[in-house]
């Protein structure tokens, strides 16, 4: 079994201000294993940021436990907690680089009181600048860098103490899509090459889809769904999870098209509009051409969206079927046998 890096047990967090109290986390039981890229997704206000801050003790849970490599950090004193924090890197949405320090100064900051000599610090900083692909920026100030470069510096700074785990709090939410991809690619590379465990807090399902192996969906302080990304994406159990997944797929567009009675999906008598969702690896089989040949059913692909997730295809097609009614039904039965989920959207 994989080694556990962080585990929470019945963790709850209540903020009290005078007489008002606000329950942010209710009863969180999570386990993050070594080498995982673990996504925690939720809308703003779901408690994601508080949750991740409980992992490194910036927030103290009101009740329950947080274990880091088996040690309950809730019971630690300030000095012990600081030692643990050096093993937990963290990056932020707003990067939080020190504006008055150069890139070098920023990355070296966590080493300032580590007892390392100047040449050792210099060597370590240069190693990290290579790692995040910014070798020539050490003397720049943060204000001179682009958003993506700032986040790279922040990643380098977070890794300078060789942490076990990297917490990313909406790390790509302030970046444009292209830069987001490059940062996610970097995180993936760090996970692969250094064996770094990564926790990704986000409200963007596309981020989870891009890099995570496991996912937990947080809603109003509760983990409502959890599992490996492929399983959750292919068969989500909760409505919220489904709505998050829809944001990453264009298949949901068909509902809008139907509402607006778009000509491209207007049906002739006898035609059938269906949504085919792939839930296993059947996408590699030539299903559409097979049903055309075997059942003489014409399949007009209106649109499709198939993504690669954890090395498996996931997604589906919206198709207009036309042909003899019994033949169409046979074709649909065949598809169901092949583990394609069929949803009939409209009859002609």
């Amino acid at each position: 079994m994989a080694k556990e890096v962080i585990r929470t047990e019945r963790m709850a967090k209540v903020f009290t201000d005078g007489k008002q109290s606000n329950t942010v986390l209710k009863n969180v039981n999570l386990s993050i294993n070594e080498g995982d890229i673990f996504g925690i997704i939720g809308y703003s206000g779901a408690g994601k940021s508080t949750l991740v801050r409980c992992f490194n003790g910036i927030e103290k849970p009101t009740s329950g436990h947080v274990f880091f490599e088996g040690r309950d950090i809730v019971s630690l004193n300030a000095r012990e907690l600081r030692a643990i924090r050096r093993k937990i890197g963290m990056i932020f949405q707003q990067f939080n680089l020190m504006p008055s320090r150069t890139v070098f100064g920023n990355i070296a900051l966590p080493l300032k009181h580590s007892g390392l000599s100047k040449p050792e610090i210099k060597r370590r900083v240069h190693e990290l600048l290579e790692l995040v692909a910014l070798p020539d920026k050490e003397n720049d100030y943060p204000a001179q860098l682009s958003g993506g470069q700032k986040q790279r510096v922040a990643i380098a700074r977070a890794l300078v103490n060789r942490p076990k785990i990297l917490l990313c709090d909406e790390a790509t939410s302030a970046l444009d899509p292209k830069t987001t991809r490059s940062i996610l690619y970097l995180l993936k590379k760090l996970n692969r090459e250094l064996g770094l465990t990564i926790v990704v807090i986000t409200h963007e399902m596309s981020v989870v889809r891009e890099i995570c192996q496991k996912i937990a969906v947080l809603d109003k302080g509760d983990i409502i769904e959890e599992g490996d990304v492929y399983t959750v994406f292919s068969s989500p159990k909760k409505e919220l999870t489904r709505s998050f997944i829809e944001t990453t797929s264009s298949l949901g567009n068909v509902t809008q098209l139907m509402d607006s009675d778009a000509p491209m999906i207007r049906l002739q008598p006898g035609q059938l509009l269906i949504k085919m969702s792939y839930v296993t690896n059947s996408v590699s089989e030539p299903l559409i051409s097979y049903i055309s040949r075997a059942y003489q059913v014409d399949a007009n692909i209106v649109f499709g969206d198939i993504q690669i997730l954890s090395d498996h295809p996931l997604g589906g097609l919206v198709v207009i079927l036309s042909g003899e009614k019994s033949r169409i039904n046979q074709a649909i039965d065949y598809l169901k046998q092949k583990h394609v989920a069929i949803e009939v959207l409209n009859h002609g």
């Binding site: 030692a83 924090r85 890197g89 963290m90 932020f92 939080n96 020190m98 300032k112 009181h113």
Partner: protein
């Protein structure tokens, strides 16, 4: 040259030595009380920022104590404060007159204002920076020095400039009750003896002081802004 001085400054030219001395006294008052007050205010400002609600070392009792005492002192007009402090000034400085006698009231007068200014300068440091310092395992003392003070330098210089200019104003007031300095010179010769040239010359000297402080402050603040 001598003639020109006599024509432009008919009265001051008679007491030039005293005028020079008053300039030196003002400089002494500003520098010594400014330096002492800077150290005190920096400490009080840091205490205020870290002990406030949601601060690094949240301590409501300590915060409220400092907060209220500062408000109390800031509400007393300086000229009344000087009079009220005379017994303590005598005790501390051995005298309530001369430059030596002005330092204590000047420090007491400017420190509450200065502390508030430092507090607001440090509050400008982004909370996110402090949080990232905590996350990287820095201790509160390391965060104060490596983040609050380091990132707050430009703001600290800016508020110190404002405070030094206020302090120059206070030295003129303190002169009236026997402190000496340019304020005292301007009042004794310019006001009481109705020698206008003494008044105008005092204004020009103070204007030069203030300008130097302002230019220097702006230069230093810009130097620390990246």
């Amino acid at each position: 040259m001598d003639n020109l001085v006599r024509i432009l400054l008919p009265n001051v030219s008679e007491v030039l030595d005293e005028f020079y001395l008053s300039i030196i006294q003002t400089l002494q008052m500003v520098f010594i009380s400014g330096l002492i007050s800077f150290v005190l205010s920096l400490i009080i400002g840091i205490v205020l920022v870290v002990t406030k609600k949601n601060g690094l070392l949240e301590r409501p009792i300590v915060f409220n104590l400092f907060d209220k005492v500062i408000n109390l002192f800031r509400s007393i007009p300086f000229i009344i404060l000087i009079a009220a402090l005379i017994p303590i000034t005598r005790l501390i400085s051995g005298t309530a007159v001369g430059v030596q006698g002005t330092l204590f009231p000047l420090v007491v007068g400017i420190t509450p204002f200065f502390s508030r200014q430092i507090e607001s300068a440090l509050s400008e440091v982004d909370e996110g920076l402090v949080e990232s310092g905590t996350a990287m395992g820095l201790s509160p003392v390391q965060i104060i020095f490596s983040i609050y003070l380091k990132e707050g330098i430009a703001s600290i210089v800016r508020v110190s400039t404002i405070t030094m200019i206020s302090l120059i104003g206070l030295t003129a007031i303190v002169g009236v009750v026997g402190g000496g300095g340019i304020g005292d010179f301007a009042i004794r010769y310019g006001y009481q003896m109705n020698q206008l040239d003494a008044t105008y010359l005092s204004i020009i000297v103070l204007l030069i002081f203030v300008s130097i402080v302002q230019v220097l402050g702006t230069f230093l603040a810009n130097k620390h802004t990246h």
